[in-house]
Amino acid sequence: MATPKLEWRGVSKRFGANKVLDGLDLSVAEGRSLALLGRSGQGKSVTIKVALGLMVPEAGSVLLDGVDVTHQRERERRASFAGIGMLFQGAALFDSLPVWENVGFRLINADGVPRAEARARAIEALGLVRLAPEVADLYPSELSGGMQKRVGLARAIAGQPSLLFFDEPTTGLDPITAGAINELIRDKVTSLGCTAVSITHDLHSARTIADDVAMLDAGRIVWQGSASELDHADHPLVRAFVTGNPAGVE
Amino acid sequence: MRAHWGETLMGFVVLAFAGIFLAYALGVTGRSSTGSYEISARFGEAGGIQPGAKVTVSGVKVGAVSSVTIDPKTYMAVIRLSVDESVKLPSDSTAKITSDGLLGGNHITIMPGGAADDLKPGGEVANTQGAVDLFGLIGQVMRPKSDAAPAAASSAAPAPKAATDLPEM
């Protein structure tokens, strides 16, 4: 079996007395799109933050292309994380910068691309998420929630990443906008040929954007399968998720 | 950089004001400010002289004390004086530590001598007169020695006589 693109090995993370991740094992194969399902507060965000190096786990390790990146120093980490893009839940755009500088942030500040060229590439990336070039000079506060998400997505894919993370990409959006974002994500992941990991508690979203689905509960993966298997899964938590019926769970 | 125009303008106004004031101040003081040279003098008693204390000739400021140190061998206080280079001091000048008043700070007065050659930069003033322990003197006047007390009681003369020993202030 080929080395997985990304792998969590026995990752544990606690906040005070609260154990959020409890020996989590999970891997994503190259070119696959994984959706991480789970109820609120079960450690989905922490799972991604550990993988991104935003949090350091107490135990276990995160392997990127087979290399342990858990305790890398600043310079090495910058190199290994260069091919990673992330779309945050609230888009997390830099509100002091215009849209194009947001999208071209990595190009300007990490890759040393000249500003004029970065601007051109940012506008190109905006086009990929179907935003007009005029948006480039607006500030994030002047955009609607859906447009902010698109700009966030443009920022995540601007550096031609090989691995993308999505944190609740459709939360807080109306169904039509959410559908558009889902399609956009699916489209970009396929066209860029990259690996994707998404957090969601929206089943529809998971079915649209993911090939594989993993169910996280109490800090561990309790069920894993392909998106099409969701409906026939016999795990009570997955069934409760699919039917929206809390009966049978705790 | 949006909507900062008012503040930016105010910033320039403040800078301009400070610049004009600085130029004016330099204009006022620039006329008299020339270079200076350093000489040193040794005193048996520095008496609270501090760097920055003024150096005067005939009551006119000609420089300032730049450092006060102790000579570890002779235990003399070595005071370095920075003197305006337009003031040439004869080599036999006398440096004296004087008080500005009863409660005032001390400064150094230089009494020019009559020699033909001047003190060179880095030279040393040979004749010095250290600080006078004013309160020690006053104490001697107020409380004469105990064996002299009966005599002092019989005659009023010693007190005025001692007072004449006080240096001019």
Binding site: A92, L93, D95, F105, N109 | E7, F17, A25, P51
Partner: protein
């Protein structure tokens, strides 16, 4: 805890011990944060646009408030010497006292306190809001170290700007005193300036500037630290803003006493 809290003296001792430990831990955290901030400020990569932007925000835009403060302080100082100092003929040394008071103490301290109010709070709220909306995390995922992009420029700008602002405050404070002297005792400007320049030593000004560099660092550090550790959304950001301002003001005054006592011994 409520059900097992030991009463009386032991409870007090416990509380005291915990408070002391918390205090020591806080000092350690700030120290660690400061060390990492300084390390980021002195090693590449630097972000010149950010540094320049912070110089604009911290230094240049503080000019009006610092200038006004200095002017009124110099003027009030001269006024007080006039009305209080004539008891022992001190009004003749008005220029000297104003100059000494401004350069050694009031210039650095008041400029720093104005900056603490204007800048430390702004830094804390800006970084705190960026934390709360995951902008700091986003920056990290875009291969840019937030410590280098956000913290280091602020520390550099605050530490360098404040001495420059203090120099300006010294000048304007003296000008304020000069104006009042002219009005009150009709002291000509030229004499006021000559007296000031003759009296003031290089060290009077330099010691003030050294102080203000330390104050500037305190302001940058407190602003960034409280912003970076802000927790709990808008409320947390509000709290961070207040603590950044209060703690930098208190630390500035404490540092002022400490540095002055060290200088007094030199």
């Amino acid at each position: 805890m409520p059900h097992s809290a030991p009463g009386g003296v032991i409870g007090w001792v416990n509380a005291l011990g915990r408070a002391v430990l918390d205090g020591v831990a806080a000092v350690g955290r700030v120290g660690h944060f400061a060390a990492r901030g300084v390390a980021a400020a002195v090693t590449p990569p630097w972000y010149p646009r950010q540094i320049l932007g912070q110089f604009m925000a911290v230094g240049f835009l503080s000019l009006p408030v610092v200038g006004l403060t200095a002017w009124f302080t110099g003027a009030a100082l001269a006024l007080n010497i006039y009305s209080g100092g004539d008891r022992f003929n001190a009004e003749t040394v008005m220029p000297q006292i104003v100059a000494l008071g401004i350069t050694r103490e009031l210039g650095p301290v008041l400029a720093a306190l104005m900056l603490a109010g204007r800048v430390a709070s702004a830094m804390a709220s800006e970084i705190g809001a960026m934390r709360a909306t995951e902008q700091v995390d986003a920056m990290f995922t875009l291969s840019t170290e937030p410590r280098r992009y956000l913290i280091a420029p602020r520390l550099i700008a605050a530490t360098v700007s404040l001495p420059l602002l203090t120099l300006l405050a010294d000048l304007i404070g003296v000008a304020g005193g000069m104006q009042v002297s002219k009005l009150l005792i009709d002291l000509p400007y030229s004499i006021y300036i000559t007296n000031t320049v003759d009296f003031i030593t290089r060290w009077d000004v330099e010691s003030g500037l050294i102080k203000s560099a330390v104050f500037g660092f305190i302001i940058g550090l407190m602003g960034c630290y409280h912003g970076d550790t802000a927790k709990g959304g808008a409320r947390g950001v509000g709290r961070a803003t207040t603590s950044a301002m209060v703690s930098s003001a208190v630390l500035i005054l404490a540092a002022d006493y400490l540095i002055s006592s060290i200088f007094a011994r030199l």
